[in-house]
């Protein structure tokens, strides 16, 4: 095999290993966290970054043909679909869990949240001015 072939194998394998490591991190996070809204952070990472790394590695292995273009189409579709499915899942949890306030802070009125965030920003600005 020539030098170019070896470079192709090394770069593709690096992307594939990256993808597998991200999948493993996803699994670790899903088993480590205790609540589904925390687990969703880890799960959504694998759905976008993990599968993208794996498929880019496979694209490098495949060379330049129609298979590569189809894999690119899968990546584009997943980048649109995966955040939507995560959002719908989070909405399912927020709708059906009646004891949600035990798990996280809930603001009934959005104005209260906006005022609190504005207050935080103001204090941060004041601190930065003092520094």
């Amino acid at each position: 095999m020539g030098t170019l072939e070896w470079i192709k194998i090394i770069i593709g394998s690096a992307f594939l290993i990256c993808g597998v490591v991200i999948f493993f991190t996803e699994l670790f996070g899903v088993f480590h966290f205790q609540y589904v809204l925390n687990r969703m952070h880890a799960a959504a990472m694998g759905d976008t970054l993990g599968i993208t790394s794996c498929l880019i590695g496979l694209m490098i292995f495949s060379g330049f043909n129609y298979t590569t273009l189809k894999i690119l189409l899968i990546i584009c579709f997943l980048w649109f679909a995966s955040p939507v499915s995560s959002h719908v899942l989070a909405r399912l949890e927020a709708t059906t869990n009646e004891n949600l306030s035990e798990r996280c802070e809930i603001y009934e009125d959005l104005d209260v949240l906006e005022q609190e965030l504005a207050g935080r920003n103001m204090t941060k600005d004041v601190k930065e001015d003092r520094l």
């Binding site: 194998i9 593709g12 394998s13 594939l16 993808g19 597998v20 999948f23 493993f24 996803e26 699994l27 899903v30 088993f31 589904v36 687990r39 969703m40 799960a43 694998g46 759905d47 993990g50 599968i51 794996c54 498929l55 496979l58 292995f61 495949s62 043909n65 129609y66 298979t67 189809k70 894999i71 189409l73 899968i74 579709f77 997943l78 679909a81 995966s82 939507v84 499915s85 719908v88 899942l89 989070a90 909405r91 399912l92 949890e93 709708t95 059906t96 869990n97």
Partner: protein, 111 residues
Amino acid sequence: MIYHTIYITMLILLSFMLLACLIRAVRGPLIADRLMAVNMMGTMVMVMIAVLALMLKEGYLIDICLIYAMISFLAVVVLSKVYIGIYEEKHHKKDSDNDHTVKGDLSDGNA
């Protein structure tokens, strides 16, 4: 030969992770846990199908991978909407009858 070794290693690693996802889907206490685990399993199966397509040198398996992505996305969205609709239907039965008829139609539309 070296490509074959890489593909086989990928498939073995992914199949072990798939088993771990299945354990999460069985153990998950909430409905959202199980749906999330099914979503993760769909992602890993997609990578496995893509690896198989390159290993067997059959380009049309990539089309199956694309269809699998669409159906997996559809399954998660539809199941979430169905469970939200069921919950709202149960919740609104406690209200008065007028509210029930109006909101029952809405929840049917959502489901």
